[in-house]
Symmetry: C2
Subunit: 418 residues, 2 copies
């Protein structure tokens, strides 16, 4: 996300220097090598590095820049614990506030924060010798994974939180120059900007949780979720987009923000029920799936289960917050021998679940399996062959909550959909 901002601003003719702690990234980025899947971003990274518009270096080598905009895009939250990386922010505050500045520098929080965090960070800044000379603004990112550059270049809106208009002026001026006039700039307080970011993701989580809850009901009652979904989504107040059931919602943002909005790290005591409910629906869906598997194949202890796909989103390699990974862990807890195949993920073990082996092929994963579960709706899984799998598995039991398989064809080949 930080890089998308950097490359976009460089592309728009602003000199950008990226400060990065990891020496490997500092070495590899200028060669155009990205450690994540963002094709458009990679393309523009190469151009802007070549043109010299974008440079990158370690913090020690960072030039002190008077009159600059400083975007903070560090990984702000400890995964799974949903706690702010406070020590990182303390270091950051020290680093920023140690030098005297002649012209106003603006510090911009782009990372996701818990509610009230910008105010807490301001206090950290103000403790530094020259911290009070810095302006602070909150400018949350709203990027879809895989489209980081596209969404940075053409946002639905830009949100800039600050305590006083003067604190966000430099950033507003910059954005007015680089964005077309039809991109709305929403000016708020810091805390409002934080709520917009978290609230947006809670809303989206809840929309997905609803369609998953509906699908769960439909499955239990033997109804066709696609027809039901269409019947509801045709209401224009509901809409059909972002309304596909699968294993639940995942990724590095939605589950995280459903947790963060209810963080008790600062003085927040409000209980966001929508966020809580969305997480509960996600959880129940997996519990229900495990029950259905047990119903179909008996106790899972020592049974091999093939999980096809582990990424949280189709055709990506990112397993952060993935429901497929959560499912793998749940099945392993039941004593099942889970074997995962994901065409986008290399290695011997599942990232985020090191006890679970990764197979190199679909066939290897499915060989002798008591059940096959579609974990991610990767496009290539649509072309799985019921005939081939028939000859490999121990039981012809399959789970496809994404509905990417042609059910009648698989049923004809003897498979039962659990």
């Amino acid at each position: 996300m930080g890089l998308a901002t950097a490359v976009f601003l460089a592309k728009k003719g602003r000199p950008v220097h990226v400060v990065e702690k990891n020496p490997q990234i500092v070495e590899n980025l200028p060669k155009g090598s990205l450690h994540f899947h963002e094709p458009t971003l990679r393309k523009h990274l190469e151009t802007t590095v070549k043109s010299g518009q974008l440079t990158i270096g370690l913090p020690e080598a960072a030039p002190f820049q008077d009159n600059a905009l400083i975007f903070i895009a560090i990984d702000s939250v400890v995964q799974d614990l949903w706690k702010m990386r406070l020590s990182s922010f303390e270091q950051m505050a020290q680093w920023l506030g140690q030098r005297k500045t002649r012209h106003k520098r603006t510090v911009i929080l782009k990372s996701t924060n818990i509610l009230g965090f910008a105010d807490a960070f301001r206090e950290l800044l103000w403790k530094q010798p020259h911290g009070k000379t810095l302006s602070l603004a909150v400018n949350p990112e709203f990027l879809r994974e895989g489209f980081a550059y596209e969404d940075t270049e053409s946002p639905w809106r830009v949100v800039i939180g600050a305590e006083k208009p003067a604190e966000r002026r430099a950033l507003v001026d910059l954005y007015r120059e680089v964005y077309p006039k039809n991109v709305p700039i929403v000016k708020t307080t810091c805390k409002e900007a934080e709520l917009i970011k978290l609230g947006s993701n809670v809303y989206l989580s809840h929309r997905l949780a609803f369609i998953h809850e509906l699908a769960d009901y439909a499955r239990q009652a033997g109804l066709d979720i696609d027809r039901v979904r269409q019947g509801i989504g045709l209401d224009e107040r509901v809409g059909q987009g972002y309304f596909n059931p699968g294993l639940g919602f995942g990724g590095s943002c939605l589950p995280k923000d459903c947790n963060l909005i209810n963080s008790r790290e600062l003085d927040n005591t409000f209980e966001f029920k929508t966020a809580q409910t969305a997480l509960e629906i996600n959880q129940r869906l997996l519990d229900g799936l495990v029950s259905r598997l047990e119903h179909a194949v008996g106790q899972l202890q020592d049974k091999k289960i093939a999980l096809l796909g582990a990424a949280f989103k189709a055709d990506l390699d990112d397993t952060r917050g993935s429901q497929a990974v959560n499912l793998a862990l749940k099945l392993a807890e039941k004593g099942a021998q889970v074997v995962v195949f994901d065409p986008f993920i290399d290695g011997a073990y599942l990232p985020g679940a090191e006890a679970i082996p990764l197979a190199d092929t679909v066939d290897e994963a499915c060989h002798d399996a008591s059940a096959v579960v579609i974990g991610t709706a990767h496009s290539r899984f649509r072309r799985l062959s019921a005939k081939t799998l028939s000859g490999l598995v121990r039981n012809k039991v399959i789970v496809d909550y994404f509905r990417i398989l042609n059910q009648p064809r698989w049923q004809k080949a003897g498979f039962t959909f659990a």
Copy 2:
């Protein structure tokens, strides 16, 4: 809702006979007198009655019509208990199944049902001497109050549930003739149609519950909900419509369907958490409002509270499922003397809460009040005068969750917004 269908089909040239039990309605309807506020419907009612295309009569006088489509649009649910009016449906089944039919007649359930109710009603029909000669279809209505005719004429979609294609054929043929080609007809099973109806309203309830929960948080944290709402709604996956906070969601459909989807009257055991959460958020909002009032004016015992507006929706007279009425009852429980004024409602007492008096004017309601609460965002309340009210009330405390008042102006006049 039944009348909207009747008038629309009559307008499209089909002969329609309305069967109505209430003699007063039978007498008044042909004169164009409606007991609810639907301006367009009233206009077309007059035309179709005059032209003889639409007739109305008591059940005893109903002509037996072979080869007919029979729409059931009775009030299907006992208000507040959320139970199906089973005895009405038993009578209906008897009435329908007693006569032999030469040509296929189709019975169409338009009323809202709990999940599986159509299947239960089919069993009732089949117990009748000639019940099995009837076709049964479920064709839920999706009408916005105040726009019943418009939404019947130009629906976003038509949903027709039936067990076999033959059972819905007559209805599909009719709708293909009366609707333009671009209106999608979604063909489902009976239970899927029921789920589409309930699920749509649960989804809409939850969308409204989310914006109310967000507003509750914003109020507690002193944030501007309008800016936050805009920042979130500008995401095109979220949208800005149907996203206005107030006292919660109400009306005769949304709270009802959030309850009905979790009905245990038939064999459903699934817990729809989204529905439950939406109802809880509605409830918490009112509890919070009462606390804020107590904080502002002290114990409510014997204090006069003016409630301006009792309808569930702006510029309508319908108090069914109204959060303003729920609030009035909550305040009365606390011992407050609640006085309600609603320009659209006549009478001495609040419909649905007969212990609570209705005032004839804003001034009468507000005279000597310890607090004034906006209960409904009726347009005319936007023009309330802070100056006039200043001279009437005991405490200048006002609650406006709808944000229809100009807060700075009212604050200048000495009012505190609780």
